[in-house]
Amino acid sequence: MHINTFDHYQTGDSLIHRLDPRVKVVVTVLFILSNVLLPDGAWLAFLLAWGILLVSGRLARLPLAFLLTRALVALPFTLAAVTAIFSIPGEPLLAVKAGPWVLVATDNGLNRFLSILFRSWMSVQMAIVLTATTQFPDLVHALRHLRIPRILTAIISFMYRYLFVLSDEVLRLLRAREARSARLPGSKAGGSVLWRAKIAGNMAGQLFLRSYERSDRVYNAMLARGYRGVLLTMNPHILTARDWQIGVVALLLIALPQLVARIN
């Protein structure tokens, strides 16, 4: 399986690509934090925040369409926020009859719903800028620098290493099942639901045992190649003056929407 199937890193050599990953992680988290703290309906502040996002995307030389389409992954959860349209008191806009209930959409409710959506959408896009400009091993090292326990970063590194191998394995299992599942058009292959569940469970169990037995071989192979408990990266990870400068500028920019929101 090609690394690009899962990894959304976009190869490039922009300002943001060259920025230290620690700075990128901190700026991303603070941007998202600032978003969440913006009050409902502070549309000017939202626009400013979006501007910051566009500038980051531009500096990272990421195509705009890339950001927009990848951000849609957060869309399904918006259903959870839909109830906000009907449950916040305010000027009624329209009434919807749903069975025995009458749901009244209010302007405050709509304001809230759209604010939630916009905040969430912007946060996802910033996270995408982060992962598109930072290779995964560098990201993990940034986490390590930011005091995430070594055992966790080690597990995540190993997980990433074997994600593709095991995903290939599971796709093979699924394909094998597909190849052995003759069925008449319009009906499901296999007997009852329970039987199908049993087969799926067997596949999971099979995958588990293969992974488990593999881990021993993996560990010994790594020991034989000089593994000493830490996965290394070629990137030296030194914070330069340029990193600090960009970090400070980013923080000041992030503070801007906050100020605008509070002043109004």
Binding site: F77, A84, N111, S123, G201, L209
Partner: protein
Amino acid sequence: MKILPRPIPLHIPDGFLNIGVSLVFWALAILLVGFAVRRTQGELAERQIPLMGIMAAFIFAAQMINFPIAGGTSGHMLGGALAAIVLGPWAGMLVMTAVVGVQALVFQDGGLLVMGANIFNMGLLTAIIGYGIYRLAAGRSRNVRLGAAAVAAWLSVTAGAFATALQLWLSGISALGIVMPAMLGVHALIGIGEALITVAALSFIMRTRPDVLEAEGEARGGWGWAVAGLLASLTVLLFSPFASSNPDGLERVAADLGFLEVGADAAYEILPDYVVPFLGDSAFSTIAAGMVGALLVAGLVYFLVRMFRRPVKI
């Protein structure tokens, strides 16, 4: 072919939980994961790390396994209960944390700020309930253990949904009377798929390599887990119907306790959430309230875990 496995919709994105709720669940997650990290240290840790990493990749891959149920829907597995049963509770929690973390970092499946809550819902709660309920049947016959595993798996998914709905309500995003029954209803069904796959997988492992189960899973937890799992499950089971059928009553109680302020007359609109009384409505008060809540909850969990600690078996 859709590669991205996201069959069980519990990954909360950023912007859907307010700061207070995020902080409380970050505190819980950090505390529990911290315990898990400490419990898996020692000489065994080095050998454990490649295993846990690969197991995390396994859980991720196993989430892609499906089986058709009816009308275009298919059953999937989240894997929290299975991970805890086969690897032991602490390792299971670490593995699921890695899965949720990577899903958030690499796929933006789940936000960064709300990762604490996501880790708690999908990684920690599922492992605690999954292992706890399974542990109740320790030493019994194979069928009893498989039955317990089925209940454990179903409860773990339902509890995750319960926690998610609760967090959304506390953040003022969704109305309790709608989100709780919706989440619980959908996930009660999804949980059946989880239970079926978990039991089938466990049965397979018991048949082919029972020694793995003994070495990893059953040796690693004491009776305290059964109590913890039972308590958590009972909380969910008893609270859910009450919350679903009487949301107004719950909101009134919460408002009386100063817990939830759906303030219509705030100076400026802020997410209705925790407020510290003398600080009034402001972002600072929200964060302060969240931190106080986080510390209280963390302290409580800390003492509970200390009570149920089992001596480490080398």
